[in-house]
């Protein structure tokens, strides 16, 4: 693991002068799927926002594809190829599915084969192509959020709790789609509370607790860890 796509070193971030994430270091290799698992409030979202420029980190560095992206603005980081799908999705509610997807390709015009790729990954979006995003169900919105992120052909897809608000059935469908994307060679960093799903998808993982990385290992090692089993897998 010498060729890191993303390398985060000593990252701290928080709100109103109080850090929520403390001295976090992690890396994602090209083609890897890495999970960050932790309970609600462990600091996963804050960490992701600080990595992708939506929030200023109080310390630490973010290196992506050998370029220093520390303190770069969010839109510049997206254009560098690191695309973040937040748990709140942030879709454009009064625009059609197709327009939402088109914006994913910004500043370029959307290419037909990209839209086709997204529609193949999420056939439901094709059926809803002209519908306004704000009128869709939670599961469909999640598909659209991931689809929109894919439109820029990202080098790294960062997903924050892609199962938020989804029924168990829809959640496993979402992970089935992510498994397909992984097979396409996409590099993914996913934060998740639903630990069995995340560890089923990932190659490696980090356990985040109270804003610190408590444990790291392969997905299998984490799944076998007694602490993880007790805290997150309920066994």
């Amino acid at each position: 693991m010498t060729d890191h796509l993303l390398r985060v070193e000593g990252l701290s971030a928080g709100y109103l002068g109080e850090n929520v994430v403390h001295d976090v270091s992690l890396s994602v290799g090209k083609g890897e799927v890495v999970a960050v698992i932790g309970s609600n409030g462990a600091g996963k979202s804050t960490m992701f926002k600080a990595i992708c420029g939506l929030q200023r980190a109080t310390s630490g560095t973010v290196e992506f594809a050998h370029a220093d992206l520390t303190a770069k603005k969010a839109h510049a980081i997206v254009r560098a190829g690191m695309v973040y799908v937040p748990a709140e999705r942030h879709l454009f509610p009064h625009m059609s599915v197709r327009d939402n997807l088109a914006l994913g390709a910004y500043p370029k015009r959307p290419r037909p084969e990209q839209i086709e790729f997204v529609f193949n990954t999420f056939p439901r979006l094709k059926e809803r192509a002209t519908q306004h995003a704000g009128t869709m169900s939670g599961g469909e919105q999640q598909m659209l959020a991931v689809g929109r992120a894919l439109m820029s052909s990202p080098r790294l897809l960062m997903l924050d709790e892609p199962t938020t608000g989804l029924s168990p059935l829809l959640a496993s469908e979402a992970y089935a789609a992510l498994t397909d994307l992984r097979a396409e060679g996409l590099t993914i960093l996913v934060a998740e509370q639903q630990v069995p799903l995340a560890l089923g998808l990932a190659d490696r993982g980090y356990v985040l607790d109270h804003g610190r990385i408590e444990l790291t290992g392969t997905a299998q090692e984490l799944a076998d860890d007694p602490g993880v089993r007790k805290a997150y897998l309920g066994v």
Binding site: H75, H90, L103
Partner: protein, 285 residues
């Protein structure tokens, strides 16, 4: 009766383009541009001065519209920077106060330097009968220009990459940033565009009524009312509301009296806020 409606539509189209300029800037960055009408008058006086100095009307109009567009860009790049760093209410208040100040400055300078200057663009020729009503050529040409400008705006926001990016910032700024859109760039360009639209207001209005150097405040108030009724951030909403309010205006002026019109329009805005806070076609949640 038909004449009142037609006059209302002509006036309403001017309202529409006024409202569109204001609504875009507000929808994007939360700045209520209380100098919007004054920017239109600034453009009118630039054009009038150029014509006085022997520049051809067409060239003067082009320069005047470009000048107010540049004024918009400069305001965004200078005064508005600290505004955009604020969030929520303090952003709205700071933007409102600073633009109020800009309005006072433009008003003051124009009144001091050119107190009796006014822009009138004469369109010669006989009136043209429409539905049995003789309409002045100036009004018709002005309306035609506004329809073309309005249609171009709607197409721009619907079908171009930058237009879509603009709407994305209006609907969800964070979502826009996550798509690689830089909201600061969008805001600057649209503030400039808003200035150009103010210039279009000045020119089209001058085809039927003299635009005097003190007209700014009234135009700003009309812009504000149309933007509220149409829905903040929506160009098509501005057009819808503008025409509706134009007709309401001429009706109340015709059947009650001109003294009542502004009150009726303000009432329409107040009612909209109570009944439909996002406006008739608002894109802001």
């Amino acid at each position: 009766m038909t004449a009142v409606v037609l006059d209302g539509i002509v006036l309403g189209l001017q309202f529409a383009i006024l409202g569109a300029g204001l609504t875009l800037v507000y929808g994007l960055g939360g700045v209520v541009n209380l100098a919007h009408g004054q920017m239109a008058v600034f453009s009118a006086i630039v054009i009038a001065r150029l014509i006085d100095h022997g520049v051809s009307t067409f060239l003067a109009v082009m320069i005047g519209i470009a000048a107010v567009g540049v004024l918009g860009l400069l305001i965004d790049l200078s005064l508005m920077k600290p505004v955009y760093r604020q969030k929520g209410e303090s952003r709205v208040l700071l933007g409102l106060l600073l633009m109020l100040g800009v309005g006072f400055i433009i008003d003051g300078v124009l009144e001091w330097k050119y107190p009796i200057e006014a822009l009138t663009i004469r369109i010669s020729g006989d009136p043209i009968p429409i539905l049995g009503v003789n309409m002045r050529r100036g009004s018709l040409i002005a309306s035609g220009i506004i329809v073309v400008v309005g249609a171009s705006l709607v197409l721009f926001f619907r079908f171009t990459t930058f237009g879509r990016a603009t709407r994305s910032v209006i609907q969800d700024e964070r979502g826009a940033r996550l798509c690689g859109v830089n909201p600061a760039t969008v805001r600057t360009v649209i503030f400039g565009l808003s200035g150009v639209l103010a210039g279009v207001v000045a020119v089209t209005r001058a085809m039927s009524t003299p635009v005097v150097s003190t007209a700014g405040v009234d135009l700003t108030i009309f812009a504000l009312i149309v933007a509220v009724v149409g829905g903040l951030g929506s160009v098509s909403g501005s057009f819808f509301a503008g025409i509706l309010l134009g007709i309401v205006n001429t009706f109340s002026a015709f059947y009650i009296g001109t003294y009542i019109t502004t009150i009726v329009l303000l009432l329409a805005a107040a009612l909209t806020i109570v009944l439909r806070p996002s406006g008739l076609l608002g894109e802001k949640p």
